[in-house]
Point group: C2
Chain length 517, copies 2
Amino acid sequence: MNHPQPDRPRSLRMDPRDNVAIVVNAGGLREGAQLEGGLTLTEPVPEAHKFALNDLPQGAPIIRYGVTIGYATRAIQRGSWVHEGLITLPEAPALDSLPLATETPKPQPPLEGYTFQGYRNPDGTAGTKNILAISTTVQCVSSSVEYAIRRIKAELLPRYPNVDDVVAITHNYGCGVAINAPGAEIPIRTLGNLALNPNLGGEPLVVSLGCEKMQPSRMLPASKLPVLREESYVMRFQDEEYRGFGDIIAAIMQMAEKRLDRLNQRRRVTCPASDLVVGLQCGGSDAFSGATANPAVGFASDLLVRAGATVMFSEVTEVRDAIDLLTARAADESVARELVRQMHWYDAYLGRGDADRSANPTPGNKEGGLANIVEKSLGSIAKAGTSAITGVFGPGERVTKKGLIFAATPASDFICGTLQLAASMNMHIFTTGRGTPYGLAMAPVIKVASRTELAQRWPDLIDLDAGRIATGHATIEEIGWELFRMVLEVASGNQQTWADHWGLHNDFALFNPAPVT
Amino acid sequence: MNHPQPDRPRSLRMDPRDNVAIVVNAGGLREGAQLEGGLTLTEPVPEAHKFALNDLPQGAPIIRYGVTIGYATRAIQRGSWVHEGLITLPEAPALDSLPLATETPKPQPPLEGYTFQGYRNPDGTAGTKNILAISTTVQCVSSSVEYAIRRIKAELLPRYPNVDDVVAITHNYGCGVAINAPGAEIPIRTLGNLALNPNLGGEPLVVSLGCEKMQPSRMLPASKLPVLREESYVMRFQDEEYRGFGDIIAAIMQMAEKRLDRLNQRRRVTCPASDLVVGLQCGGSDAFSGATANPAVGFASDLLVRAGATVMFSEVTEVRDAIDLLTARAADESVARELVRQMHWYDAYLGRGDADRSANPTPGNKEGGLANIVEKSLGSIAKAGTSAITGVFGPGERVTKKGLIFAATPASDFICGTLQLAASMNMHIFTTGRGTPYGLAMAPVIKVASRTELAQRWPDLIDLDAGRIATGHATIEEIGWELFRMVLEVASGNQQTWADHWGLHNDFALFNPAPVT
Ligand SMILES: [Ca+2]
Ligand SMILES: [Ca+2]
Ligand SMILES: [Ca+2]
Ligand SMILES: [Ca+2]
Ligand SMILES: [Ca+2]
């Protein structure tokens, strides 16, 4: 590892074909700054923003990651700032003429012998935490279940030291919704599959009001797990045996205690890295996300895939504009076609609501140097590494394959995280450029910063500084390996993430494309 | 008040024109049961379900509340059970030929001299509670703000005994949403107006991440309140002055303490009843809701309107099928036309999502005896009493008129409650037949049971038993006056609701008709 001087003008170019690079230095660079290779900036360029490596005539393609991210709206001089206003937005790739599995990557050599200490579940999956969750079928019971959980944590949990946490799966679904409308299957299966997340030990407990539209048997049929056929797992507020709130809370606590007792008997055992189901996501991205954090995550993703794990990437709206690169990388044509089907579904969903493609990236993304959704997509896809895509799953579906998976979700951070948990995620990697205190109760979240400035400003929120790639203090490979090892340590309970340290655990956020009533 | 024998077969007919009545007795009535007026049941009829008062030929209208709720699918004998399967669903009233202000009720005599002890706000409104709320512009900061509030409650609130509570206005909006799509104005104005609710003392505090789509100035422009132009009301996580999570939390706590200090200096003063903004809602309805609780609330609603208050009813999907009765009752044609416009908007919203009208009522409603949405609508509208409708407001708009207002919202309980809070509700009346532990942090919720059995089974959740109307222990007028007096007592802080006693306060639930991205 070399230690370059921090003040030297530095830039990052992602691919030899690129005709732009980004400025690395905090605070940006002044007019006249001399970059590697003898290039001189003709005007000030903000940090993380692009400048031209050559003279670009009007209409010339702007190339980053070896891909055209748009066209020059006017002639751009070598060394000048290539800002959002100078780049046209290309059309999204048409979905009817995409390359299907035309460039499927060859499998990389397997990585043997990597393990973590996890909780083995009856269904063969493994947990990285040992959590009791209480599911709810309807919003009406949310605050009561939260009341019960406050009491469980105060009165019961101290007696069950091997149980990590008690979590309420609350939401605004279950009644007052068009439950038979197209799309309603998404929130329903999401809630059912959340209860089956590997970090919950196969011990679902469902609290129902009684008169709601989404009945417990619809959300989580007993056929889903052997234990559900043997033991009552549903508590209904409106059952006539409960005389008042005291009785209701006592009943929930009693059912919770049975499960706490069994969960408490579990111990961590050695599990192969192939038991990991790692969800990848980004939020609050900047131009460094796609240059430092996401490529490093991509390297770790390849390592995880080589170790036999499941790695999920998601966020339809952030991959849509580079979907041609993904369909080409599919393991086979049927996987590619399923990718296309998910893009079609989402195009139609956005079209029904008259949503505007240019709404993503956010103002913050743009201020951070991302010109448009194409550039953001390329940076986002960098998280997925270079493996073949072996499977595609719809929003809220449980992922049942190993390898690199596309789990279709919105990009909205907590909706994506909730859907990845339903997909059976037991470890989460989250990259951020602008910075966010993101965290989830059900799985550990490793937050990777794209810039050293952010990692240093938020030392008690950011778990890994990938900004060292930009400053030359580390390579993509080095950070990738560091992250891979951190995943195993966190999954084993040997290292705590900052989100878990502070208890920063957002509520679940459902994706419900159907109307409320 | 008379005290009839509990075991005598009893029934309720709502209007002299009705050809059905409902069974009142708990557990229903047996075949052969003899009812008042010499009618004999020809088969068992469940509690709250309808039976025929006359022989009804096939195709005959089934009349309840003096209104046709459907037609007999086959001949029905006098004294037999008129269940859901025997009633066709009539078409929803067409929106292009409704009576507009054709039967505007005359104003009833004013009720003078009724007051409550409330908190006077700078903008002229009055609070029934004295709450510090912390608004958020984006989901990313929710769990951090909740962390800050736990510390504020533990470390600061004990020193400010006149402040009732500290509440986080969290949500899943702000980023990852199509913020310029049609309908996006609804969640945005909802969040802005929530911060202006009269129970929050005009002291908004907004926590922002920094890079989110919905910037603080869009959610709550400083022009909304004089105080916002004088003092900083926005805290941004990503501001460079904050070094880590500790700094961020300290900054939120410091801004909170300034507001706690000012709120703590407030005292309750005598306010006229006309300062009340009472939101009406029902949830978990049964056939008794429309026969006991809702008519009693309707009577109280008329009293409140006579006392000069604002009374809001809502729940578009529950009034849609009886909208002709409401447009006729509008104070003038422009109010009636605005009602029609809101119905049109919602019809289109449901149509875009292919939602099925028969999805409401819920299975629980039907089991409780409500045959269809028409019958449910008539029972729901009973809450609105008999006054003229003086104003109509869209979802999340701030209500600025006195009298009986239709505030258009979905029927989904917490979405409706959240929108009514945004509309400036400072008191909430919630009727329930099947039973729900509904509660909100921002305004007191009086829960009215439609049945004595529920009120007795849940004595520590139900605030008022309107079931006494069915059993003959009280009249609609008596319960209506009791509720009116209870509203004044609760608004004055002299009586605590059960929801407040247990702290059953659901999270806010936004209505976002636009897509997520
Ligand atoms: Ca994002
Ligand atoms: Ca995201
Ligand atoms: Ca919550
Ligand atoms: Ca309802
Ligand atoms: Ca409702």
